[in-house]
């Protein structure tokens, strides 16, 4: 896992824009609501690359992104070969 997101669930309004923005399909809406009754998202798997797309589109600035850059170059090289194929597979 190269990346990790930390969601401030009490600030989140459950709009789901991060779910759509995630290129890895790593974010899903959780079944547990917050105090306001919104359903915040959660990280569903270890595919996060730390690209920050979810945090960039979050209207409530409720997402913090952490990334382990030590293996980043290696990981980027690995993904660039099959990136298109794996994306299609993920979406399907």
């Amino acid at each position: 896992m190269a990346g990790k997101i930390i969601i401030d669930t009490e600030k989140c309004k459950g709009c789901g824009l991060c779910v759509v923005a995630c290129p890895k399909g790593s974010i899903v809406i959780s079944e547990q609501s917050n105090a306001k009754g919104y359903y915040p998202p959660r990280q569903a798997n270890d595919d996060c690359t730390g690209c920050c797309n979810c945090a960039v589109v979050c209207p409530d600035a409720a997402i913090e992104v952490q990334r382990d850059d030590s293996n980043r170059m290696k990981a980027a090289g690995h993904h660039s070969k099959n990136s298109k194929a794996s994306l299609v597979e993920d979406r399907a």
Binding site: C52, C58, P59, D60, Q66
Partner: protein, 244 residues
């Protein structure tokens, strides 16, 4: 693991009153990020509009002033002329800037005032309950155009950026959209450039029009609203740098 994205210090650590999926939250964050990156927090004064973003000063931690509906460019003119070292920005919606404040923005541009204007265009009046705005697209259903806007009855959508780009006093006009991660990143670049021009003392007004989703009054889920910007809104309001 190191933190690569976190809440910027100029954005107050509190929840906003905006509806889920509203573009204002994103735009506020971008403005705050640009202010922090340019290190101008201590000398920036923001002007809040009348509209959904009326409580801007509750969210962006810089000096702010609330002014009469649409009069932000007029007040900003006075502020900038008396305090030229300050960075003045106005944050206005389409009801504020394109409707009641159309004269003010036009003349601030025509006088070539050194201002940064963030214009949030969501094609509807959000705060008052989803009525037609000057920027409402043809065919768009709103509370006051229940059968869709028609050119014959309500006229055409007002293209503020195109009008402003014609004025010699306006030095930078760009239209961007909050229609996904790429669009948000482009919007940030544009907002930052608009601030940079003022920081560098460029003479003239910089305006960034941001196409922003209003899922509540467009009556669609947030993800669909961003799609609607891409597929429908950009037809009427083409993206890109119009001047500068």
């Amino acid at each position: 693991m190191k933190t690569v994205f976190a809440r910027t210090p100029s954005l107050k650590d509190c929840p906003t009153h905006y509806c889920p999926g509203c573009g204002h939250g994103i735009a506020h964050r971008l403005v705050a990020e640009c202010i922090d990156e340019l290190d101008i927090r201590e000398r920036t004064i923001g002007i809040a509009p009348v509209g959904c973003a009326v409580l801007l000063y509750d969210y962006i931690d810089v000096d702010c002033i609330e002014v009469a509906h649409g009069r932000a460019p007029a007040v900003a003119t006075g502020m900038k002329r008396t305090n030229p070292e300050k960075i003045i920005f106005s944050y206005q919606g389409d009801g504020d800037l394109a409707s009641i404040g159309a004269a003010e923005i036009l003349h601030a541009g025509h006088r070539g005032e050194q201002l940064t204007v963030i214009f949030i265009n969501n094609a509807i009046f959000g705060m008052t309950g989803g009525q037609m705005a000057p920027t409402t697209t043809l065919g768009q259903v709103t509370a006051t155009t229940p059968r869709g806007r028609t050119a014959a009855e309500q006229g055409y959508p007002l293209q503020v950026s195109e009008i402003m780009a014609l004025l010699p006093g306006v030095i930078y006009v760009e239209r961007t959209a909050l229609d996904g991660a790429a669009g948000v990143r482009k919007t940030k670049k544009a907002i930052k450039h608009a601030f940079e021009l003022q920081v560098e003392g460029a003479e003239g007004l910089a305006l960034v029009e941001v196409l922003s989703p209003c899922p509540t009054y467009w009556r669609m889920p947030p993800a669909k609203a961003t799609e609607w910007i891409k597929t429908e809104m950009t037809k009427v309001f083409p993206l890109g740098r119009l001047k500068g």
